[in-house]
Protein backbone atom coordinates (compact mmCIF):
# COMPACT_ATOMS: atom_id res chain seq x y z
CA UNK A 1 0.00 0.00 0.00
CA UNK A 2 1.46 3.32 -1.04
CA UNK A 3 0.14 6.74 -0.13
CA UNK A 4 -0.57 9.32 -2.82
CA UNK A 5 -0.41 13.05 -2.16
CA UNK A 6 -4.16 13.27 -1.76
CA UNK A 7 -4.14 10.61 0.98
CA UNK A 8 -1.35 12.45 2.82
CA UNK A 9 -3.51 15.59 2.79
CA UNK A 10 -6.53 13.60 3.98
CA UNK A 11 -4.64 12.02 6.89
CA UNK A 12 -3.25 15.41 7.90
CA UNK A 13 -6.77 16.84 7.85
CA UNK A 14 -8.01 13.92 9.99
CA UNK A 15 -5.18 14.58 12.45
CA UNK A 16 -5.93 18.34 12.38
CA UNK A 17 -2.37 19.18 11.45
CA UNK A 18 -1.80 21.90 8.86
CA UNK A 19 0.65 20.73 6.22
CA UNK A 20 1.98 23.18 3.65
CA UNK A 21 1.73 22.18 -0.03
CA UNK A 22 5.51 22.15 -0.38
CA UNK A 23 5.76 19.67 2.54
CA UNK A 24 3.40 17.09 1.07
CA UNK A 25 5.90 15.46 -1.31
CA UNK A 26 8.57 15.05 1.38
CA UNK A 27 6.04 13.66 3.88
CA UNK A 28 4.70 11.31 1.24
CA UNK A 29 8.21 9.90 0.70
CA UNK A 30 8.91 9.53 4.43
CA UNK A 31 5.57 7.93 5.25
CA UNK A 32 5.80 5.51 2.32
CA UNK A 33 9.31 4.52 3.35
CA UNK A 34 8.08 3.74 6.89
CA UNK A 35 5.00 1.88 5.63
CA UNK A 36 7.05 -0.19 3.18
CA UNK A 37 9.30 -1.25 6.07
CA UNK A 38 6.29 -2.10 8.26
CA UNK A 39 4.90 -4.22 5.40
CA UNK A 40 7.15 -7.14 6.44
CA UNK A 41 4.57 -8.01 9.11
CA UNK A 42 2.45 -9.57 6.37
CA UNK A 43 4.96 -12.49 6.36
CA UNK A 44 3.86 -13.49 9.87
CA UNK A 45 1.21 -16.20 10.12
CA UNK A 46 -1.38 -14.84 12.58
CA UNK A 47 -4.37 -17.02 11.71
CA UNK A 48 -6.33 -17.68 14.92
CA UNK A 49 -4.06 -15.52 17.11
CA UNK A 50 -5.92 -13.45 19.70
CA UNK A 51 -4.81 -9.78 19.36
CA UNK A 52 -2.95 -8.39 22.39
CA UNK A 53 -4.01 -4.80 23.06
CA UNK A 54 -1.69 -4.19 26.01
CA UNK A 55 0.99 -5.68 28.20
CA UNK A 56 -1.07 -5.68 31.39
CA UNK A 57 -0.88 -9.15 32.91
CA UNK A 58 -3.69 -8.79 35.38
CA UNK A 59 -7.30 -7.79 35.32
CA UNK A 60 -7.74 -4.04 35.47
CA UNK A 61 -9.01 -2.89 38.83
CA UNK A 62 -12.35 -1.19 39.05
CA UNK A 63 -12.77 1.62 41.51
CA UNK A 64 -15.93 2.68 43.23
CA UNK A 65 -18.02 4.98 41.09
CA UNK A 66 -17.80 7.96 43.39
CA UNK A 67 -16.53 11.53 43.06
CA UNK A 68 -12.97 11.69 44.43
CA UNK A 69 -11.87 15.04 43.13
CA UNK A 70 -13.35 18.25 41.81
CA UNK A 71 -14.04 21.91 42.49
CA UNK A 72 -10.83 22.81 40.68
CA UNK A 73 -12.22 25.52 38.47
CA UNK A 74 -9.33 27.95 38.86
CA UNK A 75 -6.63 25.28 38.54
CA UNK A 76 -8.23 23.97 35.37
CA UNK A 77 -8.44 27.41 33.78
CA UNK A 78 -5.02 28.52 34.98
CA UNK A 79 -3.28 27.47 31.75
CA UNK A 80 -5.98 28.56 29.31
CA UNK A 81 -4.52 30.39 26.30
CA UNK A 82 -7.69 32.46 26.20
CA UNK A 83 -10.58 32.67 28.62
CA UNK A 84 -13.86 34.50 29.02
CA UNK A 85 -15.01 35.76 32.37
CA UNK A 86 -18.55 36.99 32.64
CA UNK A 87 -21.56 36.98 34.91
CA UNK A 88 -22.14 33.27 34.22
CA UNK A 89 -18.65 32.28 35.29
CA UNK A 90 -15.22 31.64 33.75
CA UNK A 91 -14.77 29.68 30.53
CA UNK A 92 -12.25 28.57 27.90
CA UNK A 93 -12.66 30.89 24.94
CA UNK A 94 -12.56 29.70 21.31
CA UNK A 95 -13.42 31.29 17.96
CA UNK A 96 -17.13 31.54 17.34
CA UNK A 97 -18.57 28.10 16.46
CA UNK A 98 -22.30 28.93 16.30
CA UNK A 99 -23.67 31.87 14.33
Amino acid sequence: MSLDAETVRRIAALARIRVKDEEVTRLQGELNHILAWIEQLSEVETEGVEPLPGAMRMKLKMREDVVTDGDLHDAILANAPDRADNAMGSFFAVPKVVE
Partner: protein, 492 residues
Protein backbone atom coordinates in the same frame (compact mmCIF):
# COMPACT_ATOMS: atom_id res chain seq x y z
CA UNK B 1 37.58 13.66 50.48
CA UNK B 2 35.56 12.63 47.45
CA UNK B 3 33.82 15.54 45.72
CA UNK B 4 30.08 15.54 46.59
CA UNK B 5 29.22 15.09 42.92
CA UNK B 6 31.39 11.96 42.69
CA UNK B 7 29.45 10.13 45.39
CA UNK B 8 27.05 7.42 44.35
CA UNK B 9 23.52 7.75 45.66
CA UNK B 10 24.17 4.99 48.22
CA UNK B 11 27.39 6.69 49.36
CA UNK B 12 25.63 10.05 49.67
CA UNK B 13 22.88 8.39 51.70
CA UNK B 14 25.49 6.97 54.09
CA UNK B 15 27.35 10.30 54.30
CA UNK B 16 24.10 12.15 55.09
CA UNK B 17 23.17 9.62 57.76
CA UNK B 18 26.63 9.94 59.34
CA UNK B 19 26.36 13.74 59.09
CA UNK B 20 29.59 13.89 57.07
CA UNK B 21 27.77 16.05 54.55
CA UNK B 22 24.57 18.09 54.61
CA UNK B 23 21.74 18.03 52.11
CA UNK B 24 22.47 21.69 51.49
CA UNK B 25 26.11 20.99 50.57
CA UNK B 26 25.00 18.22 48.23
CA UNK B 27 22.40 20.43 46.58
CA UNK B 28 24.82 23.34 46.18
CA UNK B 29 27.52 21.12 44.66
CA UNK B 30 25.09 19.73 42.09
CA UNK B 31 23.61 23.13 41.24
CA UNK B 32 27.14 24.43 40.66
CA UNK B 33 27.86 21.43 38.44
CA UNK B 34 24.71 22.06 36.40
CA UNK B 35 25.79 25.67 35.91
CA UNK B 36 29.35 24.68 34.98
CA UNK B 37 28.19 22.15 32.39
CA UNK B 38 25.15 23.97 31.06
CA UNK B 39 26.47 23.56 27.51
CA UNK B 40 25.46 19.89 27.72
CA UNK B 41 21.88 21.24 27.58
CA UNK B 42 20.80 18.38 29.83
CA UNK B 43 18.23 20.51 31.64
CA UNK B 44 15.27 22.44 30.27
CA UNK B 45 14.49 23.98 33.65
CA UNK B 46 16.75 24.23 36.72
CA UNK B 47 15.03 24.88 40.07
CA UNK B 48 17.75 26.16 42.46
CA UNK B 49 15.39 27.79 44.98
CA UNK B 50 13.27 24.67 45.19
CA UNK B 51 16.40 22.52 45.56
CA UNK B 52 17.71 24.58 48.47
CA UNK B 53 14.29 24.60 50.17
CA UNK B 54 14.01 20.80 49.77
CA UNK B 55 17.55 20.42 51.13
CA UNK B 56 16.80 22.59 54.15
CA UNK B 57 13.72 20.50 54.95
CA UNK B 58 15.77 17.30 54.56
CA UNK B 59 18.54 18.63 56.83
CA UNK B 60 15.95 19.50 59.47
CA UNK B 61 14.49 16.00 59.39
CA UNK B 62 17.92 14.37 59.50
CA UNK B 63 18.86 16.55 62.51
CA UNK B 64 15.71 15.43 64.31
CA UNK B 65 16.47 11.79 63.56
CA UNK B 66 13.45 11.52 61.28
CA UNK B 67 15.24 10.88 58.01
CA UNK B 68 13.26 9.44 55.11
CA UNK B 69 14.71 6.93 52.60
CA UNK B 70 15.91 9.55 50.09
CA UNK B 71 16.32 12.52 52.39
CA UNK B 72 18.72 15.06 50.88
CA UNK B 73 19.35 13.12 47.64
CA UNK B 74 19.43 15.54 44.67
CA UNK B 75 17.52 14.17 41.68
CA UNK B 76 16.58 15.38 38.22
CA UNK B 77 13.17 14.73 36.69
CA UNK B 78 12.63 14.02 33.00
CA UNK B 79 10.49 16.86 31.67
CA UNK B 80 7.78 14.39 30.73
CA UNK B 81 6.68 14.16 34.38
CA UNK B 82 4.27 16.89 35.44
CA UNK B 83 5.49 18.85 38.45
CA UNK B 84 3.27 21.23 40.40
CA UNK B 85 4.20 24.85 39.80
CA UNK B 86 7.19 23.96 37.58
CA UNK B 87 6.82 24.39 33.83
CA UNK B 88 6.52 21.00 32.15
CA UNK B 89 7.25 20.88 28.42
CA UNK B 90 7.65 17.30 27.09
CA UNK B 91 10.33 19.14 25.03
CA UNK B 92 7.59 20.34 22.69
CA UNK B 93 6.60 23.79 21.54
CA UNK B 94 2.97 22.76 21.76
CA UNK B 95 2.93 22.76 25.57
CA UNK B 96 3.92 26.44 25.54
CA UNK B 97 4.23 27.71 29.10
CA UNK B 98 2.17 24.91 30.63
CA UNK B 99 2.59 24.89 34.41
CA UNK B 100 0.85 21.82 35.86
CA UNK B 101 -1.43 22.31 38.86
CA UNK B 102 -0.69 18.69 39.86
CA UNK B 103 2.26 16.39 40.47
CA UNK B 104 2.93 13.05 38.78
CA UNK B 105 2.58 10.13 41.18
CA UNK B 106 6.18 8.98 40.65
CA UNK B 107 7.72 12.38 41.36
CA UNK B 108 5.34 12.90 44.30
CA UNK B 109 6.61 9.63 45.80
CA UNK B 110 10.22 10.77 45.41
CA UNK B 111 9.53 14.11 47.14
CA UNK B 112 7.61 12.32 49.89
CA UNK B 113 10.72 10.14 50.37
CA UNK B 114 12.77 13.30 50.93
CA UNK B 115 14.50 13.71 47.54
CA UNK B 116 15.70 17.15 46.44
CA UNK B 117 14.41 18.54 43.13
CA UNK B 118 17.19 19.99 40.94
CA UNK B 119 15.05 20.56 37.85
CA UNK B 120 13.63 19.08 34.66
CA UNK B 121 15.75 17.28 32.10
CA UNK B 122 15.68 17.55 28.32
CA UNK B 123 14.33 14.74 26.13
CA UNK B 124 13.21 13.97 22.61
CA UNK B 125 9.92 15.74 21.88
CA UNK B 126 7.13 13.72 23.56
CA UNK B 127 9.78 11.02 24.17
CA UNK B 128 9.86 10.20 20.45
CA UNK B 129 13.44 9.63 19.40
CA UNK B 130 16.68 7.77 20.07
CA UNK B 131 19.14 10.66 19.96
CA UNK B 132 17.63 13.59 21.86
CA UNK B 133 17.82 15.62 18.65
CA UNK B 134 14.06 16.14 18.28
CA UNK B 135 13.71 18.38 21.37
CA UNK B 136 12.25 21.85 20.81
CA UNK B 137 14.85 22.97 23.38
CA UNK B 138 17.89 21.81 21.40
CA UNK B 139 20.13 18.73 21.36
CA UNK B 140 21.61 17.25 24.50
CA UNK B 141 25.35 16.62 24.32
CA UNK B 142 26.74 13.30 25.54
CA UNK B 143 29.43 13.89 28.22
CA UNK B 144 31.47 11.15 26.51
CA UNK B 145 33.67 11.82 23.47
CA UNK B 146 35.47 9.48 21.11
CA UNK B 147 39.19 9.28 21.75
CA UNK B 148 40.97 11.92 19.67
CA UNK B 149 37.73 13.31 18.29
CA UNK B 150 36.09 16.45 19.64
CA UNK B 151 32.75 16.05 17.89
CA UNK B 152 29.65 16.21 20.06
CA UNK B 153 27.89 12.84 20.35
CA UNK B 154 24.24 12.15 21.09
CA UNK B 155 23.37 10.84 24.58
CA UNK B 156 20.71 8.56 23.11
CA UNK B 157 17.04 9.10 23.64
CA UNK B 158 14.48 9.80 24.57
CA UNK B 159 15.72 10.22 28.17
CA UNK B 160 18.95 11.85 26.89
CA UNK B 161 18.95 14.73 29.38
CA UNK B 162 18.48 12.40 32.35
CA UNK B 163 21.25 10.06 31.14
CA UNK B 164 23.68 12.91 30.37
CA UNK B 165 22.98 14.57 33.73
CA UNK B 166 23.65 11.34 35.64
CA UNK B 167 26.80 10.54 33.63
CA UNK B 168 28.24 14.07 33.98
CA UNK B 169 27.50 14.02 37.73
CA UNK B 170 24.96 16.82 37.65
CA UNK B 171 22.62 14.74 39.87
CA UNK B 172 22.77 11.48 41.83
CA UNK B 173 19.94 9.93 39.83
CA UNK B 174 17.14 10.86 37.50
CA UNK B 175 13.70 9.72 36.48
CA UNK B 176 13.17 8.57 32.92
CA UNK B 177 10.55 6.79 30.84
CA UNK B 178 10.84 3.94 28.36
CA UNK B 179 8.34 3.27 25.57
CA UNK B 180 10.69 1.42 23.19
CA UNK B 181 14.10 1.77 24.83
CA UNK B 182 14.15 5.36 26.07
CA UNK B 183 15.71 4.46 29.43
CA UNK B 184 18.01 1.61 28.38
CA UNK B 185 19.45 3.01 25.15
CA UNK B 186 20.57 6.39 26.62
CA UNK B 187 21.90 4.54 29.70
CA UNK B 188 24.02 2.37 27.37
CA UNK B 189 25.25 5.43 25.44
CA UNK B 190 26.34 7.27 28.60
CA UNK B 191 27.83 4.47 30.72
CA UNK B 192 24.97 4.60 33.25
CA UNK B 193 22.47 2.08 34.61
CA UNK B 194 18.85 2.33 33.48
CA UNK B 195 15.97 0.00 34.31
CA UNK B 196 12.56 -0.16 32.69
CA UNK B 197 10.47 -2.10 35.18
CA UNK B 198 7.51 -4.33 34.40
CA UNK B 199 4.55 -2.56 32.82
CA UNK B 200 2.34 -1.55 35.75
CA UNK B 201 5.15 -1.34 38.33
CA UNK B 202 5.20 2.50 38.33
CA UNK B 203 2.13 4.68 38.02
CA UNK B 204 1.84 6.55 34.73
CA UNK B 205 -0.41 9.19 36.31
CA UNK B 206 0.88 12.68 35.57
CA UNK B 207 3.41 11.50 32.98
CA UNK B 208 2.71 13.02 29.56
CA UNK B 209 1.39 10.05 27.59
CA UNK B 210 3.11 8.83 24.41
CA UNK B 211 1.92 5.22 23.91
CA UNK B 212 -0.07 4.18 26.96
CA UNK B 213 0.23 0.39 26.56
CA UNK B 214 4.04 0.67 26.34
CA UNK B 215 5.09 3.68 28.47
CA UNK B 216 6.76 2.86 31.75
CA UNK B 217 8.77 5.02 34.17
CA UNK B 218 12.08 3.97 35.71
CA UNK B 219 15.33 5.41 37.07
CA UNK B 220 18.72 6.16 35.53
CA UNK B 221 21.60 6.07 38.03
CA UNK B 222 25.33 5.43 38.18
CA UNK B 223 25.23 2.01 39.84
CA UNK B 224 22.89 -0.98 39.95
CA UNK B 225 22.40 -0.39 43.69
CA UNK B 226 21.42 3.25 43.11
CA UNK B 227 18.89 2.19 40.47
CA UNK B 228 17.44 -0.38 42.89
CA UNK B 229 17.11 2.25 45.64
CA UNK B 230 15.32 4.66 43.33
CA UNK B 231 13.02 2.10 41.72
CA UNK B 232 11.71 0.99 45.11
CA UNK B 233 10.66 4.56 45.92
CA UNK B 234 9.12 5.13 42.47
CA UNK B 235 7.06 1.92 42.44
CA UNK B 236 3.68 0.97 43.80
CA UNK B 237 -0.01 0.79 43.11
CA UNK B 238 -1.82 4.02 42.36
CA UNK B 239 -5.63 4.15 42.21
CA UNK B 240 -5.27 7.03 39.73
CA UNK B 241 -3.72 4.70 37.10
CA UNK B 242 -5.94 1.69 36.39
CA UNK B 243 -2.99 -0.09 34.73
CA UNK B 244 -0.75 0.26 37.78
CA UNK B 245 -0.37 -3.14 39.39
CA UNK B 246 -1.57 -3.83 42.90
CA UNK B 247 1.42 -5.99 43.83
CA UNK B 248 3.87 -5.68 46.69
CA UNK B 249 7.04 -3.68 46.03
CA UNK B 250 10.05 -5.75 47.09
CA UNK B 251 13.22 -4.32 48.60
CA UNK B 252 15.14 -4.45 45.33
CA UNK B 253 18.38 -3.44 47.04
CA UNK B 254 18.21 -6.49 49.27
CA UNK B 255 18.16 -8.75 46.19
CA UNK B 256 21.57 -7.48 45.01
CA UNK B 257 23.57 -9.57 47.43
CA UNK B 258 21.97 -12.86 46.42
CA UNK B 259 24.32 -13.57 43.52
CA UNK B 260 23.47 -15.57 40.41
CA UNK B 261 24.54 -19.07 41.47
CA UNK B 262 22.13 -21.56 39.92
CA UNK B 263 20.25 -18.97 37.85
CA UNK B 264 19.46 -20.03 34.29
CA UNK B 265 20.39 -17.34 31.77
CA UNK B 266 18.99 -17.44 28.24
CA UNK B 267 20.90 -16.25 25.18
CA UNK B 268 18.48 -15.68 22.29
CA UNK B 269 19.93 -16.55 18.90
CA UNK B 270 17.67 -14.06 17.11
CA UNK B 271 19.49 -11.14 18.77
CA UNK B 272 22.63 -12.05 16.78
CA UNK B 273 22.13 -9.65 13.86
CA UNK B 274 23.70 -9.90 10.43
CA UNK B 275 26.62 -7.50 10.30
CA UNK B 276 26.60 -6.91 14.04
CA UNK B 277 29.51 -4.77 15.26
CA UNK B 278 32.19 -7.30 16.38
CA UNK B 279 32.79 -5.38 19.62
CA UNK B 280 29.14 -5.78 20.59
CA UNK B 281 29.28 -9.52 19.86
CA UNK B 282 32.51 -9.78 21.89
CA UNK B 283 30.96 -7.92 24.82
CA UNK B 284 27.97 -10.23 24.76
CA UNK B 285 30.30 -13.28 24.89
CA UNK B 286 32.20 -11.64 27.73
CA UNK B 287 28.92 -11.16 29.62
CA UNK B 288 28.09 -14.84 29.14
CA UNK B 289 31.51 -15.82 30.48
CA UNK B 290 31.15 -13.52 33.52
CA UNK B 291 27.78 -15.01 34.48
CA UNK B 292 29.06 -18.56 33.98
CA UNK B 293 31.99 -17.78 36.26
CA UNK B 294 29.59 -16.39 38.87
CA UNK B 295 27.71 -19.69 38.91
CA UNK B 296 24.84 -19.18 36.46
CA UNK B 297 24.07 -21.67 33.72
CA UNK B 298 23.77 -20.51 30.11
CA UNK B 299 21.06 -21.75 27.76
CA UNK B 300 20.54 -21.11 24.07
CA UNK B 301 16.97 -20.00 23.54
CA UNK B 302 14.86 -18.85 20.63
CA UNK B 303 12.55 -15.83 20.45
CA UNK B 304 11.37 -16.46 16.89
CA UNK B 305 9.37 -13.26 16.33
CA UNK B 306 12.12 -10.87 17.45
CA UNK B 307 12.67 -9.39 13.98
CA UNK B 308 9.04 -8.34 13.79
CA UNK B 309 9.12 -6.39 17.07
CA UNK B 310 10.26 -3.08 15.56
CA UNK B 311 7.71 -2.93 12.73
CA UNK B 312 5.02 -3.98 15.23
CA UNK B 313 6.13 -1.18 17.53
CA UNK B 314 5.97 1.35 14.68
CA UNK B 315 2.30 0.57 14.23
CA UNK B 316 1.25 0.28 17.88
CA UNK B 317 3.19 3.27 19.25
CA UNK B 318 2.17 5.81 16.57
CA UNK B 319 -1.45 4.60 16.74
CA UNK B 320 -1.59 5.20 20.48
CA UNK B 321 0.35 8.46 20.11
CA UNK B 322 -2.06 9.81 17.51
CA UNK B 323 -4.89 9.27 20.02
CA UNK B 324 -3.00 10.57 23.05
CA UNK B 325 -1.73 13.68 21.29
CA UNK B 326 -5.22 14.61 20.06
CA UNK B 327 -5.60 16.52 23.33
CA UNK B 328 -3.23 19.29 22.21
CA UNK B 329 -5.79 21.53 20.61
CA UNK B 330 -4.78 25.08 21.56
CA UNK B 331 -7.89 25.50 23.70
CA UNK B 332 -7.25 24.39 27.27
CA UNK B 333 -3.49 24.82 27.80
CA UNK B 334 -0.28 25.25 25.89
CA UNK B 335 0.35 26.89 22.55
CA UNK B 336 -2.44 28.51 20.55
CA UNK B 337 -1.93 29.77 17.00
CA UNK B 338 -4.77 31.81 15.59
CA UNK B 339 -4.75 32.76 11.94
CA UNK B 340 -8.45 33.56 11.65
CA UNK B 341 -11.17 31.17 10.56
CA UNK B 342 -13.11 28.66 12.62
CA UNK B 343 -12.27 26.22 15.39
CA UNK B 344 -10.86 23.62 12.98
CA UNK B 345 -8.51 26.26 11.59
CA UNK B 346 -7.35 26.99 15.12
CA UNK B 347 -6.67 23.28 15.74
CA UNK B 348 -4.80 22.86 12.46
CA UNK B 349 -2.72 26.01 12.82
CA UNK B 350 -1.83 25.24 16.46
CA UNK B 351 -0.91 21.62 15.78
CA UNK B 352 0.90 22.44 12.53
CA UNK B 353 3.11 24.96 14.36
CA UNK B 354 3.39 23.13 17.69
CA UNK B 355 4.58 19.64 16.71
CA UNK B 356 8.09 18.94 15.42
CA UNK B 357 8.84 16.81 12.35
CA UNK B 358 9.21 13.41 14.08
CA UNK B 359 6.10 13.85 16.23
CA UNK B 360 4.12 14.93 13.20
CA UNK B 361 5.31 11.88 11.21
CA UNK B 362 4.25 9.53 13.98
CA UNK B 363 0.84 11.16 14.42
CA UNK B 364 0.25 10.85 10.66
CA UNK B 365 1.34 7.19 10.58
CA UNK B 366 -0.88 6.49 13.59
CA UNK B 367 -3.85 8.27 12.08
CA UNK B 368 -3.39 6.28 8.87
CA UNK B 369 -3.11 2.83 10.49
CA UNK B 370 -6.24 3.52 12.56
CA UNK B 371 -8.24 4.95 9.66
CA UNK B 372 -11.22 3.19 8.12
CA UNK B 373 -10.17 0.43 5.75
CA UNK B 374 -6.61 0.07 7.15
CA UNK B 375 -7.30 -0.79 10.80
CA UNK B 376 -7.35 -4.57 10.25
CA UNK B 377 -4.39 -4.66 7.89
CA UNK B 378 -2.12 -2.65 10.22
CA UNK B 379 -3.33 -2.16 13.76
CA UNK B 380 -5.06 -5.49 14.31
CA UNK B 381 -2.22 -7.33 12.55
CA UNK B 382 0.28 -5.61 14.83
CA UNK B 383 -1.68 -6.60 17.93
CA UNK B 384 -1.61 -10.22 16.81
CA UNK B 385 2.14 -10.16 16.21
CA UNK B 386 2.48 -8.52 19.61
CA UNK B 387 0.71 -11.53 21.12
CA UNK B 388 3.22 -13.84 19.39
CA UNK B 389 6.14 -11.80 20.71
CA UNK B 390 4.78 -12.08 24.24
CA UNK B 391 4.24 -15.82 23.73
CA UNK B 392 7.90 -16.19 22.68
CA UNK B 393 8.97 -14.75 26.03
CA UNK B 394 6.46 -16.87 27.98
CA UNK B 395 7.93 -19.99 26.36
CA UNK B 396 11.50 -18.87 27.05
CA UNK B 397 10.79 -18.22 30.71
CA UNK B 398 9.75 -21.83 31.13
CA UNK B 399 13.41 -22.70 30.54
CA UNK B 400 15.34 -19.70 31.89
CA UNK B 401 15.14 -17.12 34.70
CA UNK B 402 16.57 -14.15 32.82
CA UNK B 403 17.80 -13.27 29.33
CA UNK B 404 21.11 -11.62 28.39
CA UNK B 405 21.45 -9.48 25.23
CA UNK B 406 23.38 -6.43 24.05
CA UNK B 407 21.59 -3.17 24.96
CA UNK B 408 22.18 -1.36 21.66
CA UNK B 409 23.51 -2.24 18.20
CA UNK B 410 26.23 0.47 18.42
CA UNK B 411 27.85 2.96 20.77
CA UNK B 412 26.86 6.65 20.77
CA UNK B 413 26.94 8.35 17.36
CA UNK B 414 27.62 11.94 16.38
CA UNK B 415 24.86 14.52 16.27
CA UNK B 416 23.55 14.44 12.69
CA UNK B 417 24.62 10.85 12.00
CA UNK B 418 21.92 8.22 11.30
CA UNK B 419 19.48 10.92 10.28
CA UNK B 420 19.28 10.21 6.56
CA UNK B 421 15.91 8.56 7.09
CA UNK B 422 13.58 7.79 10.02
CA UNK B 423 13.90 3.99 9.76
CA UNK B 424 17.70 4.07 10.29
CA UNK B 425 17.09 5.89 13.56
CA UNK B 426 14.35 3.45 14.57
CA UNK B 427 16.81 0.51 14.31
CA UNK B 428 18.58 1.80 17.44
CA UNK B 429 15.85 0.18 19.52
CA UNK B 430 16.06 -3.29 17.95
CA UNK B 431 17.17 -4.95 21.23
CA UNK B 432 14.98 -2.93 23.59
CA UNK B 433 11.54 -2.78 21.91
CA UNK B 434 10.50 -6.44 22.48
CA UNK B 435 10.42 -5.97 26.28
CA UNK B 436 8.02 -3.02 25.91
CA UNK B 437 5.69 -4.99 23.68
CA UNK B 438 5.67 -7.87 26.17
CA UNK B 439 5.58 -5.58 29.22
CA UNK B 440 8.70 -7.14 30.76
CA UNK B 441 11.45 -5.59 32.90
CA UNK B 442 14.81 -4.81 31.34
CA UNK B 443 17.99 -3.15 32.56
CA UNK B 444 21.02 -1.75 30.78
CA UNK B 445 24.35 -2.05 32.61
CA UNK B 446 27.63 -0.51 31.42
CA UNK B 447 29.97 -3.40 30.67
CA UNK B 448 32.89 -2.09 28.65
CA UNK B 449 34.29 0.42 26.18
CA UNK B 450 34.55 0.16 22.42
CA UNK B 451 37.77 0.87 20.50
CA UNK B 452 36.99 4.60 20.41
CA UNK B 453 36.58 4.70 24.19
CA UNK B 454 32.80 4.90 24.31
CA UNK B 455 30.67 2.92 26.77
CA UNK B 456 28.71 -0.17 25.73
CA UNK B 457 25.89 -1.77 27.70
CA UNK B 458 24.51 -5.24 28.25
CA UNK B 459 20.79 -5.77 28.72
CA UNK B 460 19.18 -8.18 31.17
CA UNK B 461 15.50 -9.03 30.70
CA UNK B 462 13.36 -10.78 33.30
CA UNK B 463 9.93 -12.21 33.98
CA UNK B 464 7.02 -9.89 34.69
CA UNK B 465 7.34 -8.44 38.22
CA UNK B 466 10.66 -10.19 38.76
CA UNK B 467 12.92 -7.13 38.79
CA UNK B 468 14.77 -8.76 41.70
CA UNK B 469 16.32 -11.38 39.41
CA UNK B 470 17.09 -8.66 36.85
CA UNK B 471 18.92 -6.68 39.54
CA UNK B 472 20.82 -9.77 40.73
CA UNK B 473 22.11 -10.51 37.24
CA UNK B 474 22.89 -6.84 36.62
CA UNK B 475 24.84 -6.66 39.88
CA UNK B 476 26.90 -9.70 38.86
CA UNK B 477 27.73 -8.10 35.50
CA UNK B 478 28.59 -4.80 37.19
CA UNK B 479 30.91 -6.54 39.65
CA UNK B 480 32.65 -8.57 36.94
CA UNK B 481 32.98 -5.66 34.50
CA UNK B 482 34.46 -3.29 37.08
CA UNK B 483 33.42 -0.44 34.80
CA UNK B 484 35.22 2.63 36.14
CA UNK B 485 35.81 4.72 33.01
CA UNK B 486 34.74 8.35 33.28
CA UNK B 487 33.22 10.68 30.71
CA UNK B 488 35.44 13.52 29.50
CA UNK B 489 32.89 16.17 30.51
CA UNK B 490 31.94 15.88 34.18
CA UNK B 491 31.44 17.94 37.30
CA UNK B 492 34.47 17.35 39.50
Amino acid sequence: MTAPTDLTLAEARAALAAKRISARELAEAHLAAIEKLKDLNAFITVTPERALADAAAADARIAKGEARPLDGIPLAIKDLFCTTGIRSTAASRILGNFVPPYESTVSAKLWAAGAVCLGKTNLDEFAMGSSNTTSAFGNVVNPWRRRGDNRDLVPGGSSGGSAAAVAARLCLGATATDTGGSIRQPAAFTGTVGIKPTYGRCSRWGIVAFASSLDQAGPIARTVRDAAILLREMSGHDPKDSTSADVAVPDFEAALGQGVKGLRIGVPKEYRLDGMVPEIEALWQQGIAWLKEAGATIHDISLPHTRYALPTYYIVAPAEASSNLARYDGVRYGLRVEEGGDLDDLYEATRGAGFGAEVRRRILIGTYVLSAGYYDAYYLKAQKVRALIQRDFDEAYKIVDAILTPATPSSAFAIGEKQDDPVTMYLNDVFTVPANLAGLPGISVPAGLDASGLPLGLQVLGRAFDEETVFRVAAAIEAAAGFDALPQLRAA
